[in-house]
């Protein structure tokens, strides 16, 4: 069920009904995918190819004293066994800080890659791994983020254990004592577990050695050019000799932003002179990519008696694990979103990202805002309770709005309909309260038949979110697009070529829609992304439709101008106002020229495009215009809780989100549904269990993601209020629903049970068990 609301006109007229901007155009890869013929990175196959495999450390912290590889290499069918000393170029890699060894000599996390092999069969490769003898000097791991911050903690990296400390200081410079002006103060401590992106398509790809001494890599990734820079550096090759093409991507969600098998496969291919395919097992995938940072969070919210925020103080510690990955940017995001989608004049917040010997953490959908957002929303509920105000109303009362100033001093210069989004989900009809015997599939515990309705209590909760779109803090967030218009079979055909990764979100569809709208053509070919065109940046931060969409639109504009110049030359018209319509160049409705007649020579442009610049944060105050755009969403969750067993059934999720302009409404709905599902997973079931630095549940049997039985019906309300700074007014869509779903579901469980529930995912024991002495119970609040 979806409602669409468009009130602010978007910036460009579009032609609906032609699979242009605003239409639910079909995915061009859809037919291949439903037939099983779409080539994912794990489907690649070449004559003579070898299988690569990775030996991983069983210890979270250790020094490697010796590695004996001769016995492994001597086995029939084995072609290469490589260790750290076989890396010809830079020994380390990393997205922001190159601190992660390609192959470890000193181990800093469980599952870290130590050696790689190439063999003629996956089983031959597995047995070769078993034949490598590694001597480890095992060290005591440091596995607690707070402990890593302690002054006497052993430094895990040369620069110490703090990857980044970001401060937000807003309000009275002396800060004074705003607590004195607050009638009501609520405090809370919260924990967020380690979530996994759990894409279904495992890390995989194929490296093919090239006659020029370079390598061609076919891989599932999110950012081809940053992969290439890291691969080339470690191979010791010029970047031109490393050519990367996107292979079919089986989901990403942030986990493919860092390298996995890329350098390893290339090393093996160059050593053996054969194509090498690598494909992680699911167990390996759970240690083969970064996860969402676990976090400990502390907040103090002060408000007037009628629930208006006076100040927010807080602190978050994000456990980045063994290597930096994107921790610096995650810390920046947690800090700059530290008050949620609310207005507050005085803010004092510290965000830390630290090194530990836990699995490395980095990008996952929501990127630092999920963790802070859960705590902020929980605090708003505590404040509502302390003030005796409805949870939806307290959000409306404090809602951020266009023209307001955020915690970094940045003015929100675009629609920010937070109050309206909350009002809309609050006003949506509630699902029926069940009466009489119930189908067990609709109850907590499901077909386990643990209840027929007895002990089941219903609850309702709310969550709202603000999330930055695109890269922030002064990053040069460029994308390039090549657009070629030529006659093919007598008809104008546009070819769009970018390096932007289609990861399932539908970017490949959107690029074609934009070309159709801008060029008035019917036939558009979107080429496979590769590094033969300029960087498109990452398929993350909800940014590709904005930035690569903007680049495609910009390049199409240049093609159109060239068409108009040719039309003027051919027709002799001097009219300034030309337009494209139905394959013709027109002036005030009169046909000036047929596009086909203007394309004796193809038109081919390749241009960079950037959104407006952002600025870095002041290191002492955290003030700055750090972000280019924000997305906003709100959720209402309705849950049934079996209070005796602690089991939860989410009955319904109602969502409202402003998407600026739904470039492809069907894809927008899919993003909101999917994002909400990942938020539900974090609320109720998803956590990588790490103890002593070791991952204990690396499988889909033990790491649970929502099934179709876990997901409720979702009611969507899509607003299109149009960001005047963005192409077509669009907003990034993918991340907000993940952020607001989680706190709404937890709030609904609190509503049903009265439990404090300060930790996600919520476990049955948190609901049903008798609390241990000293554990957090009800909201800690102070009313003056």
């Amino acid at each position: 069920m979806t409602a669409h609301d468009t009130r602010r006109p978007t910036t460009t007229a579009v032609h609906p009904g032609r699979d242009g901007v605003g239409d639910s155009a079909r995915r061009p890869d859809g037919a291949l995918k439903v037939r099983g013929e779409f080539a994912f990175s794990s489907d690649l196959w070449m004559d003579g190819m070898l299988w690569g495999a990775t030996l991983r450390s069983p210890h979270p912290r250790a020094r490697i004293t010796t590695i004996e590889t001769a016995a492994a290499l001597a086995r029939p069918g084995v072609f290469a066994v490589l260790t750290a000393e076989d890396v010809p170029g830079r020994a380390t890699y990393g997205l922001e800080i190159p601190d992660q060894p390609v192959l470890a000599e000193e181990v800093r996390y469980f599952g870290e890659a130590v050696a790689i092999v190439a063999a003629d069969h996956p089983e031959t490769a597995r047995r070769a791994l078993a034949a490598i003898e590694v001597a480890y000097e095992v060290l005591e791991p440091l596995t607690d983020g707070e402990a890593a911050l302690a002054p006497d903690a052993p430094p895990l990296h040369p620069g110490g254990n703090v990857v980044r400390h970001a401060k937000i200081r807003k309000g009275d410079p002396a800060y004074g004592d705003p607590a004195a002006t607050a009638d009501v103060v609520v405090t809370g401590e919260y924990r967020v577990g380690m979530q996994d992106q759990a894409f279904l398509g495992p890390e995989s790809g194929m490296a093919v050695p090239a006659p020029d001494g370079g390598v061609d890599l076919y891989v599932a990734t999110q950012w081809l050019h940053v992969d290439r820079a890291q691969v080339a550096a470690s191979l010791g090759l010029d970047e031109e000799l490393v050519r990367i093409s996107l292979a079919g991507v089986g989901g990403a969600f942030g986990a493919r932003e860092d390298l996995s098998m890329q350098i390893h496969a290339c090393l093996l291919a160059l050593r053996t002179g054969r194509p090498v395919k690598m494909m992680y097992t699911r167990e390996e995938s759970f240690v083969g990519h970064v996860h969402r940072h676990p976090a400990t969070i502390r907040y103090e919210h002060g408000a007037t008696r009628d629930g208006r925020l006076v100040y927010v103080k807080g602190r978050i510690v994000l456990d980045g694990g063994a290597y930096a990955s994107s921790t610096p940017a995650v810390v920046g995001n947690a800090a700059t979103h530290c008050v949620g989608p609310y207005q507050v004049d005085n803010v004092w917040f510290d965000a830390y990202g630290v090194y530990t010997d836990n699995p490395p953490c980095g990008a996952m959908r929501g990127f630092g805002v999920v963790q802070a957002g859960f705590a902020v929303e929980s605090q708003m509920d505590r404040l509502a309770a302390a003030c005796g105000i409805d949870p939806a109303e307290i959000r409306v009362r404090n809602a951020l709005a266009e023209g307001a100033t955020g915690p970094t001093g940045q003015v929100i210069d675009q629609p920010a309909p937070v109050a309206e989004l909350v009002r809309r989900v609050a006003a949506a009809p509630l699902p029926d309260t069940p009466d009489g015997p119930r189908d067990p599939r609709t109850l907590p515990g499901g077909v386990s038949n643990t209840t027929h309705g007895e002990g089941v209590v219903r609850g309702v909760g709310y969550g709202a979110c603000i999330k930055n779109v695109c890269f922030s803090e002064g990053f040069d967030d460029v994308s390039h697009a090549r657009v070629r218009l030529e006659l093919t079979g007598g008809e104008p055909v546009a070819t769009v070529h970018t390096a932007a990764a289609e990861v399932g979100q539908g970017l490949v569809t959107v690029q074609a829609q934009i070309a159709r709208t801008e060029l008035g053509v019917t036939r558009v070919v979107v080429r496979t992304a590769d590094t033969s065109v300029g960087s498109a940046g990452s398929s993350s931060a909800s940014r590709q439709t904005y930035v690569t969409g903007g680049a495609v639109r910009n390049a199409c504009g240049a093609v159109r101008e060239e068409l108009f110049a040719r039309a003027r030359a051919a027709s002799g018209t001097t009219a300034a106002e030309l337009a494209l319509d139905g394959g013709k160049v027109v002036h005030q409705g009169e046909v000036v020229a047929d596009i086909a007649d203007l394309l004796a020579e193809p038109i081919d442009v390749h241009l960079p495009w950037r959104h407006r610049p952002t600025t870095a944060l002041d290191p002492e105050t955290g003030q700055g215009d750090a972000h280019v755009q924000w997305g906003f969403s709100a959720h209402r969750a309705v849950v049934d809780v079996d209070i005796e067993l602690g089991l939860v059934k989410v009955v319904e999720l109602a969502t409202a989100q402003d998407v600026g302009k739904a470039v492809n409404p069907l894809a927008v709905e899919g993003q909101i549904h999917g994002g909400s599902a990942q938020g539900l997973g974090l609320a109720l079931m998803e956590e990588i269990q790490v103890s002593g630095g070791i991952v204990r549940n690396p499988s889909f049997t033990d790491y649970l993601i929502p099934t179709i039985l876990d997901m409720p019906p979702m009611r969507l309300d899509v607003l299109e209020l149009g960001d005047p700074h963005a192409p077509y007014g669009l907003r990034g869509v993918g991340e907000p629903p993940t952020i607001s779903a989680t706190p709404a579901i937890v709030a609904a469980i609190r509503d049903a049970t009265g439990r404090a529930l300060t930790r996600i995912p919520v476990r049955p024991d948190d609901i049903a068990a008798v609390p241990a002495p000293g554990s957090p119970t009800d909201a800690q609040e102070e009313v003056r």
């Binding site: 439903v34 013929e37 196959w45 759990a198 089986g250 899919g670 549904h673 019906p713």
Partner: protein, 163 residues
């Protein structure tokens, strides 16, 4: 040690040689018979991405040893659509496949082949349009990480109505 495995795949007699006895049916289909439609996401029967018909019943191909498929009939997602050899339109889709594309039930598409087989099976054994609870129960062995399942349910309803 290696062995030969014979089976009927999508209506054709197929033979795989040099099969190591530890290989799964999934590996033989994907790596030896050129049918990568069934996907490898968990290798332990939890995700359903490798679902195929084995003698007419859905099964996780990752849990079937290659030797167990000897002499049996396998239908993969590649065998559920139109036959390009006999059909002028090379992208003719079955009702389930068409509904998945039209409804937006496909995003990354990695779970899609398994879901198409499972949905095909549900519709084949159901009179009329299955209730949402029936759809949810029937597809609960197929994980999808992209869609939140809403569009998948819609696609199954649509396909059942068209069948």
């Amino acid at each position: 040690m290696s062995m030969r495995v014979n089976m009927t795949v999508n209506g054709e007699e197929r033979t795989a040689d040099d099969v190591w006895p530890g290989e799964s049916l999934l590996y033989v289909l994907r790596e030896r018979l050129g049918l990568p439609g069934a996907k490898n996401a968990c290798e332990q029967g939890e995700c359903g991405s490798c679902t195929v018909y084995l003698d007419g019943r859905p099964a996780c191909a990752c849990l079937v040893a290659a030797g167990q498929a000897e002499g049996r009939a396998v239908v993969t997602v590649e065998g559920l659509g139109g036959d390009p050899a006999e059909d002028a339109d090379p992208v003719r889709l079955s009702a389930v496949q068409e509904a998945f594309v039209a409804a937006g039930a496909v995003q990354c598409g990695f779970c899609t082949p398994g879901l198409v087989v499972a949905a095909h099976d549900l519709i084949a054994r159901t009179d009329g349009i299955p209730a949402d609870t029936e759809i949810r129960e029937a597809l609960s062995g197929n994980l999808c990480r992209c869609t939140g399942y809403e569009k998948i349910i819609e696609a199954v309803r649509t396909a059942a109505g068209a069948s």
